[in-house]
């Protein structure tokens, strides 16, 4: 038997849905508009603004940079976050309570401030190249997500399984990969996706850290908007969305499938 939905509930759902989807529709519409200015609904249909994006060297370059930074930052965040989340849960009783909070601190600090302090301390003081500073900055802002998501999954993990494996002759490190990791697989995938999206969309930290010759896609979009008001912005936004969705799909498929095939 189906329970009838209250009309108000339906109305509410429709409104929420509209607010979530409307911006996507508007951007998609604006991106295919056959005009030289941003407009919605589109007047005429054309793909030329997508072509234009790739004709502009600045966009081509920043797309690549953004992808590189997102992959590196996400990779580092997982490399640090996975062992950190493991230790926080495995040795919870021995460790002080405040330690798990340390790993969420970067979320609490306004990103603008984080970017500024990184600029001051890492880029200027330590004299690191722009690209490295960007990777460090992005690693910092995505690390809390990695730790949080994996930690949530590990908090439900029964560590006596690990002891069972060790008692059966599996060395501790090997046990981590054969017993612990497969059981937090979906959390690692979720952390990857969340971290990747956060990095590739980041503006505030990147704003401070981009420098001569090195910029990220969102910063390039910002720079473009300051001068022009053409549908290139909409097209590049659509591309950014597609890129994100694409990475998510690839991660889900490869990581998901290889883990399943074991």
């Amino acid at each position: 038997m189906k329970q009838p939905l209250h009309p108000l509930l339906i109305a509410f759902a429709v409104v929420v849905f509209f607010f979530l989807v409307a911006p996507l529709v508007i951007i998609l519409g604006a991106a295919v508009s056959d005009t030289t200015f941003l407009t919605f609904p589109p007047r005429g249909i054309s793909g030329r603004w997508f072509v234009k994006v790739f004709e502009m060297a600045a966009f081509r370059r920043t797309i690549v940079t953004s992808l590189q930074i997102a992959f590196l930052a996400t990779g580092f965040a997982l490399l640090i976050g996975l062992p950190a989340a493991y230790a926080l849960n495995r040795f919870r009783i021995q460790l002080p309570h405040w330690l798990s909070t340390v790993f969420v601190l970067p979320i609490l600090v306004p990103e603008i401030v984080l970017g500024f302090s990184l600029l001051k301390s890492v880029q200027v003081a330590a004299d690191l190249p722009v690209f490295s500073t960007l990777v460090i900055g992005h690693t910092l802002i995505v690390l809390p997500y990695a730790v949080r998501v994996i930690s949530a999954s590990l908090s439900a993990f029964d560590f006596s399984m690990e002891e069972a494996a060790v008692s059966l002759g599996s060395p501790p490190l090997k046990t981590f990969f054969t017993i612990v990791l497969p059981n937090v697989r979906s959390a690692v995938i979720a952390a990857f996706i969340l971290a990747f999206i956060t990095s590739i969309n980041d503006v505030s930290v990147s704003l401070f850290l981009t420098g001569p010759g090195v910029s990220t896609l969102p910063i390039q979009i910002l720079a473009h908007v300051e001068q022009f008001f053409d549908p290139v912005i909409a097209s590049v936004s659509v591309l950014l969305m597609l890129l994100t969705v694409g990475v998510m799909a690839v991660v889900e498929l490869t990581l998901g499938l290889t883990f399943l095939a074991k």
Partner: protein, 352 residues
């Protein structure tokens, strides 16, 4: 393949809390020994020390002539069965059972054959390709048992393996564990806080309190001849009456309880009686007699029918006691009576 386990003066602590102190235990090859004690007395800690998940501050653990004390856990070759089973949820039943063999580099056909033989023994052949999530509690327990047994370890350890099963299954699994252990002759340590379980499954039982062994003996000896008041209370001696000797005449001893009541006891029946002692008696070891008879004077209280006898709560100058009287003569509450200990069901203990 079967080895004796020797634990010498083991001490361990969590942080600043001392959990085990100078703990010693000798288990013969092929013997099944239970650690029995109240929650928090250190049973699991003892197992974790033997398994190598916890480092002792001092003491030694030897299995046969091998010193385990500093050996990493994964090289100790001990079969462990956990209270919550700790099965690997992402591996099938067969993969769970084969896990230990895989670690030992036993591959392909031999592994498959040994896993199949073990699954057959625990009657799980049909479920070989299931994931643990799709098994009942009893089936999970069997998988856990098979996983520990298949590596043919010289030592098996069980941490309250039956406490998550219902009463009927528990008794069945208990017999199964005992049979397999006998058949393989594997030295075993079994942890439980259920006295009946410990007594029914073990060759010997170590009764523990606060990280120390209070008595280590066969179930029969523990039940009949507890070594101290703690063990006596644990195995069901309801009445512990502190007494002191006031007169001796040959084998006969005149002893006085608190409140002045006297009993005459024969050392021929009770064995040597020291000047100060505690008389331990189960309810059935304290007989309700008419007020003219010799014994501790008492006023009868609540009466309950036990089938083979009546049991009485009694008020005495030495405190409240529990005694039994014959079915033929039910006594009224508030009646005066005498309580006479029956030597065969009593014991003489050192004062606490």
């Amino acid at each position: 393949m079967t080895e004796p386990l020797t634990i010498e003066d083991l001490s361990a602590h969590y942080g600043k809390v001392q959990v085990l102190e100078d703990f010693s235990l000798q288990i013969a090859a092929g013997e099944l020994v239970s650690l029995l004690g109240a929650s928090g007395c250190g049973k699991t800690t003892t197992l974790r020390l033997i398994a190598g998940f916890l480092e002792p501050t001092s003491g030694r653990i030897r299995l046969g002539d091998q010193d385990l004390t500093r050996l990493p856990a994964h090289r100790r070759n001990i079969g462990l069965v956990f209270q919550n089973y700790a099965l690997f949820p992402h591996l099938t039943v067969a993969e769970n059972v084969g896990f230990g063999l895989k670690q030992r580099g036993i591959g392909g056909a031999e592994r498959a054959a040994r896993v199949a033989a073990m699954l057959e023994r625990v009657e799980l052949t049909d479920l070989a390709s299931r994931l643990p999530g799709a098994l009942s509690g009893g089936q999970r327990q069997r998988v856990a048992l098979a996983r520990a047994l298949v590596i043919e370890p010289p030592l098996l350890m069980f941490d309250e393996p039956l406490s998550n099963l219902d009463a009927k299954l528990r008794v069945g699994m208990r017999a199964e564990i005992r049979q397999m252990q006998r058949a393989n002759g594997t030295t075993s340590v079994f942890v439980t806080h259920d006295q009946e379980e410990a007594f029914s499954i073990s060759d010997r039982v170590a009764i523990m309190q606060a990280g120390r062994i209070m008595q280590f003996d066969t179930p029969e000896t523990l039940y009949q001849r507890p070594a101290n008041a703690f063990v006596a209370r644990f195995v069901g001696f309801e009445n512990l009456i502190p007494m002191r000797v006031v007169a001796r005449e040959g084998e006969s001893v005149e002893a006085e309880a608190e409140g002045g009541a006297r009993l005459s006891l024969s050392q021929a029946e009770y064995g040597a009686i020291p000047d100060a002692f505690v008389l331990g008696a189960r309810a059935e070891g304290l007989l309700v007699l008419p007020p003219e008879a010799p014994g501790l004077p008492a006023t009868l209280g609540l009466r309950s029918y036990l089938g083979r006898a009546y049991q009485y709560l009694c008020a005495t100058p030495a405190g409240p006691l529990t005694a039994q009287g014959p079915l033929g003569a039910p006594q009224m509450p508030a009646a005066a009576a005498r309580l006479q200990p029956l030597a065969a069901q009593c014991c003489i203990l050192a004062p606490e």
